[in-house]
């Protein structure tokens, strides 16, 4: 205990609090690495939240609920893929429209589900490991999605860095003309990346409605998708930094609430603004390093590709 706060409980709850933004951000990182800027993360998250909730309530299975959430997010992202990859619509405008559409549609779908409790998502049974002091609570006391979110970061990192598919994906994001000239299907790769991003955002949304706040309410994600977008930039498109960013954001929110509850003397205002201050600080430090952050952004980010051009 320090300052009245149990650090084990604090770390455990910050890991849980950052799962939704972590999942959404790691999905968006893959999308952006493929050269597509999808600003519809918030919309896909909330679609995932409502679809996951409905699936879980109807089937009574949280696992199916998470799958339903991923499907809901991916379904909505398919619309974005259609608009930007087939119809060549502007990505920024389509992404914003996707968010507005997702918020409205989720509200419509969720009409009959307000006030229902979803089936409980249990923690992974680690048996005696959970009884280890400190680490038991911090590492071995979570639901499966917490571990899955960290595994997803590792998987994305390994894929982008070590797999041939990852190399192709990055090539498409850096220079779609060159990738096309080499014979890669730019559009197909991008659509797949968009679907992955949608599924991850949907999974993150489902985590909010099934675990974090086990209920459905209109607008339940309340801006988490925008934070996920910011974290991708904060992380300068690197997977492990996404993890760091998500834990930092999730952590500071939880920490400031905990400090208040513990009656610390630190004024609330400083705590509330600290995540943003740290973001600005990190962005300044990163961009001062001879423009390395700028170099790290995929060169074709946000540009549409048409083979005939």
């Amino acid at each position: 205990m320090f300052g009245g706060i149990d650090p084990a409980l604090l770390i455990a709850s910050l890991m849980v609090a950052s799962v939704p933004i972590l999942l959404a951000a790691i999905g968006e990182l893959v999308v952006e690495k493929a050269g597509v800027l999808n600003l519809g993360v918030e919309g896909m998250m909330i679609m995932g939240a409502v679809c996951g909730f409905i699936t879980a309530v109807v089937t009574g299975s949280p696992a199916l609920g998470f799958l339903g959430g991923a499907a809901g997010g991916a379904g909505l992202s398919l619309l974005f893929a259609l608009l930007t990859q087939v119809m060549q619509a502007n990505q920024v405008a389509s992404g914003l429209a996707l968010t507005l559409f997702g918020l409205g549609l989720s509200s419509l779908l969720g009409q009959g589900y307000v006030g229902i409790k979803p089936p409980h998502t249990g923690v992974v049974p680690f048996g005696p490991l959970a009884d280890i002091p400190f680490f038991g609570k911090v590492i071995f006391g979570h639901d499966p999605l917490v571990y899955l979110s960290v595994l997803a970061v590792a998987a994305v990192w390994a894929f982008l860095r070590h797999a041939r598919g990852g190399l192709i994906l990055r090539a498409v994001g850096e220079s779609h003309e060159a990738a096309h000239a080499l014979g890669y299907k730019v559009r197909r790769i991008r659509v797949l990346a968009i679907l992955f991003g949608g599924a991850m955002a949907g999974l993150g949304g489902a985590y909010v409605s099934l675990v974090r706040v086990p209920q459905w309410t209109d607008g339940i994600t309340a801006g988490a998708g925008w934070i996920a977008l910011a974290i991708v930039v904060f992380a300068s498109w690197r997977p492990w930094r996404v993890l760091l960013g998500a834990w930092l954001f999730g952590g500071i929110t939880v920490l400031q609430l905990n400090l208040q509850a513990a009656g610390s003397g630190i004024p609330v205002e400083y705590l509330s603004m600290s995540p943003y201050l740290i973001t600005i600080l990190v962005l300044v430090i990163m961009s001062s390093g001879r423009g390395r952050a700028a170099l790290n952004a995929p060169a074709s980010l946000g540009q549409n590709f048409h083979a005939a051009r």
Binding site: G4, I5, D6, L9, S13, A17, P20, S107, G110, Q111, V114, G115, I116, K117, V208, R212, V213, P214, Q215, T217, D218, G219, I220, T221, A222, G223, A224, T253, V254, L257, N258, Q260, A261, A262, G263, P267, V268, E269, S272
Partner: protein, 361 residues
């Protein structure tokens, strides 16, 4: 500046045109601005129920319109202007943060009536304010909290440090303290009206600190959902709406905002021409604040005690802020037997004696 002026003039012209058309049709249009989604299950949901009551009461003679999720601030001004231009005869702005936008837009549309909930500024004759004495409900909750806590730690999730919320905190604490002198209050400011994940986190942080009775002053049911996870060890209250889906525990009682009667009265007055600028502040006795069923999770004697407070307030024999009460710094606020004047309550910026921590500025 020029452009804004032009817009304002155009708006005025249009509103006159539309206003004329509306009265010719003899159909009154009542509009509502909501800070959250109707599906929040709390604050906005209850306002919308009131709006639907208006429709029910007057049927074809009234048209209602509403806009959800309107941010407090500059966006609100745009929405209000649009509504006034769109032929609304009376506009209800249902959150404290709409105070300045409401007054600013009201100046430009003298023929449209504006009704601002929970505020205190009435800068032009067409602005009225209305509120409910929620602190009366907090007195009932505080009594239950003081009796029910086993850890002697009770919590309150605040939204923003405004008088409305501060008087709720003070009333809750005073009545818990009255029945349980050892009680300690933990206040957590969420700085949002509606963010289910953050509200749940706030509740979780308090539960980790040993708090076992949680009252919330935010709009969603998330704090109750979090309390439910504790498996019967933590109780809470429905806020703004009954939140009956969490009965019989963790939701052991609730404060229900009942805006319908007021909305029907005001729209009716507008229609029959008896409308006047007002500053309404009704409570339990006026029916604007209802106390939701106190469930069987509460022992009968505590339930009876809480109901007595409710009934005494309704009958006017008891005021939740009756002296002697000192401010947090120990200076005297109310003398023995003195009750708090409304002015003091509406501008309340201090904790009463015994509450720890500072109010953020």
């Amino acid at each position: 500046m020029n452009r804004r002026h032009l817009l304002a003039t155009a708006a005025l012209g249009l509103s006159l045109a539309f206003g004329g058309a509306a009265s010719a049709q003899d159909k009154t249009k009542a509009c509502f601005v909501y800070v959250g989604p109707i599906g929040d299950g709390g604050w906005t949901y209850q306002h919308h129920q009131g709006a639907l009551d208006v429709q029910k009461a007057f049927g074809d003679k009234v048209e209602i319109a509403w806009q959800e999720n309107v941010p407090e601030g500059a966006d609100a001004e745009r929405v209000l202007t649009q509504m006034a231009l769109g032929g609304c005869d009376i506009i209800f702005t249902t959150s404290f943060g709409y105070m300045d936008p409401t007054n600013a837009v009201a100046k430009k549309f003298p023929n449209v009536k504006f009704e601002h909930a929970t505020g205190f500024k009435r800068e032009s004759p067409n602005v009225s304010t209305y509120n409910a004495r929620f602190y009366e409900g907090r007195a009932v909750q505080g009594t239950i909290a003081g009796r029910m806590t086993k850890t002697n730690k009770i919590g309150y999730i605040g939204s923003f440090p405004i008088p409305e919320v501060i008087m709720g905190i003070n009333s809750y604490y005073l009545h818990a303290k009255k029945v349980n002198p050892d009680v300690e209050l933990t206040v957590v400011w969420a700085f949002t009206w509606f963010d289910p994940a953050k509200e749940a986190d706030a509740a979780k942080a308090m539960i980790e600190q040993g708090v076992d009775v949680i009252a919330s002053h935010t709009d969603s049911t998330a704090p109750l959902a979090e309390a439910a996870k504790a498996g019967g060890k933590v109780i809470g209250f429905g806020q703004a709406s009954d939140m009956a889906e969490y009965k019989p525990s963790p939701r052991v009682s609730s404060i229900i905002d009942n805006w319908g009667p007021y909305y029907v009265k005001r729209v009716g007055a507008l229609m029959d021409g008896s409308y006047e600028q007002a500053d309404a502040w009704e409570g339990i006795s006026g029916g604007e604040v209802l106390i939701g069923e106190i469930t069987d999770a509460i022992p009968a004697e505590v339930k009876a005690e809480a109901e007595k407070i409710r009934d005494d307030i309704a009958a006017g024999t008891y005021h939740p802020f009756t002296g002697p009460i000192n401010k947090q710094d120990g200076s005297a606020w109310l003398a023995e037997g003195q009750t708090a004047p409304d002015g003091d309550l509406l501008g309340m910026g201090f904790y009463v004696e015994g509450i720890k921590g500072d109010i953020p500025k």
